[in-house]
């Protein structure tokens, strides 16, 4: 009797916990479905041109806010390319910058840093990861942007593009630098963790063959850690895509497609990524067409995040093939 009651209690616990797991899954499914359903009108009115260029995106959002359609177009008319472009360039630039810094820093941490330096650097990196994004945004807009505005953008440069856009330091460069600082710590942690788990004997084998330490690191350690580097890049990309508050503070807040053909001026042109656009238009969520457009932006972010999650899973599979338990 005793045993049977114990077993049924056990089953009950398993079922309760399993039900909780299913509930969480249902919640996630509901989230994806609701956002997509809510976003559908915006996509169906614009078709694939939703993702393309066409007109001033801010004017389109204002038209929805005021419920006065742009002449010749429906109220849902929306071309998101400047926002998508802003997301792509800030994310790409920040991830590339952070990748370079974090690979070298991870190598430094695991291979070269003297004990005392390493013990100082590790908590510092952890701290950088913990600083809230609004604090980064505040530093960006009150310290970095004014500096860039005063010292790096000349008045003639400002005057050269004044007919189209105002350069004031809240721009692509500021956004990229702050974003890179935000994502570097997690990349360092992942890459350094993988480097540390490369079997010492592999490293020693290479050094014993007369290969110097730097070559050994590049040819053996970093090569073995490749899946972790890919994973770090994927995770950092997901973070950078989703960063809303900091970017809405420092990126200039204008739906402007910064043009690389402008040369150096390109670096100082304002951008506004997708996530920041949601923050800036949050007040308009009660107006149906604007809300549908905002949910469409959210759907794009959601799908991108899911795809990146899948890419991370794929990176893990290749890690298995290497036979390393990172």
């Amino acid at each position: 009797m005793q045993r049977r009651s114990g077993r049924s209690e056990d089953q009950r616990t398993e079922r309760t916990l399993g039900a909780l797991a299913i509930a969480v899954l249902v919640l996630i499914g509901a989230m994806i479905v609701t956002v997509l359903v809510k976003a559908w009108p915006s996509f169906s009115h614009n078709g694939l041109s939703w993702f393309g260029p066409g007109g001033d995106v801010d004017a389109q959002l204002r038209a929805m806010q005021a419920s006065v359609p742009i002449p010749g177009h429906s109220i849902h008319y929306f071309r998101a390319w400047p926002l998508i472009w802003g997301t792509l360039i800030t994310t790409f630039a920040a991830v590339v910058l952070a990748l370079i810094v974090s690979i070298f820093t991870a190598v430094f941490l695991t291979e070269f840093a003297p004990g005392a330096v390493r013990r100082a650097l590790e908590p510092v990196i952890r701290l950088l990861a913990g600083v809230p994004s609004v604090v980064y945004g505040l530093i960006g807009i009150l310290a970095l942007a004014p500096y860039i505005n005063q010292h790096l953008i000349s008045n003639s440069r400002k005057a050269s593009v004044i007919y189209a856009v105002q350069l004031n330091g809240a721009d692509l460069t500021t956004a990229t630098i702050i974003l890179a600082v935000m994502i570097t710590p997690i990349m360092v942690a992942l890459i350094a963790g993988a480097l540390a788990s490369v079997p010492t004997s592999w490293h020693e084998g290479s050094v014993a063959l007369g290969v110097n330490r730097w070559r050994t690191i590049v040819r053996v350690s970093l090569r073995t850690a490749r899946p972790a580097i890919v994973a770090a890049t994927v995770l950092a990309t997901a973070r950078a895509l989703g960063e809303a508050i900091m970017l809405s503070m420092v990126s200039g807040g204008r739906g402007f497609a910064a043009n690389p053909l402008d040369g150096i001026t390109f670096l100082f042109e304002p951008v506004r990524p997708l996530a920041a656009t949601i923050v800036n238009n949050a007040e308009g969520l009660t107006i149906a067409p604007l809300a549908q457009t905002i949910y469409a932006i959210a759907a794009v972010l959601l799908v991108s995040a899911a795809m990146l999650s899948f890419a991370g899973w794929a990176a893990k599979q290749s890690l298995k093939r290497y036979g390393i338990r990172a």
Partner: protein
Amino acid sequence: MEAGQLAPVAPPPGLAVARPKRQSTASWPLIDRLGYWLSWTMGVALCLIAVAIIVFMLVKGISYLKPAMFVESPSASLQQSQSGGFLDPLIGTLIIAVIGTVIAAPVGVALAAWMSEYARPASLARAVESGIDVIAGVPSIVLAIFGLLVFTQNFLGFLSQNAANGAVYGRSFFAAGIVMSLVALPLIVGSTREALAQVPDRMREASYALGKTKATTIGRVLLPAIRTDIASGIVLGMGRIIGDTAIITILLGATLTNQGVGSVPVIGALRGTGSTLTSYVYTNSPAGEGNAPQKAYAAAFVLLMMVLALNALVTRLTADRKRSPLRILLSQLGTWGYRWTR
């Protein structure tokens, strides 16, 4: 130590690998020496950036922070000397952190226990794992506007307030706190799973040998054995919650002071709108309406100190296992970190 001599076998704790202490780089090709110096430069530069941020916030914070700010409510004023302090945001931050963790902690621990001890059927376990990855990967702004959609439903009106025309407002401490629990969930699941995976099987076997069921083993043996890890997961989650701004700006109504609804004391306050330190910083920055940078710096400084205190708490909780800060940072990545530290 001579060049070429092998390092001691046992690696020191943490991420460092035992390597010969010093080796002259004079004989290396130029490109290799360049790489060596570049890695030194990057390491030191990252350190300097962090120090610069801390010193900058410290200087600004100390010069603008006044004790009175902790006890004064914010008020609308163009003069920075007239616009009060941040008592309400401070209380708001605490309320949100408590609601978020109170929901996320039991759910997260239960999910982690199911995933590492039962995980049947395997397909469901895999689905839950990816589901939690999705939650961890979804931008919090997307969670926020999904939350707004949920909490403006009529049957959830009791969690916020009804407008004059009967529409549900959907913005309240309840709404923001409940959505915040999703932000903390992956961290708590990650730490708990990582710790459960490290509990040796002999502990489970000893418990089964004494005739205990699996449920009792989890409740009485495994979870108590990893309680500090659960606690550190909760603290990490709390750190993430108090630092999040997107959910607050969308789901807490962004009123300067905490505005209760109705006459029921606690429930009324939680149904009402308010602000937290993060939304206070955002509103008072040039990006918001307030444009009171001194107030923003002071509040950001307090926020940073809270994050530092929580960091120190995690370090203390995990001190007995000598985990390096980067290992803790990996567990901060939730299920992601769990994958890579396994």
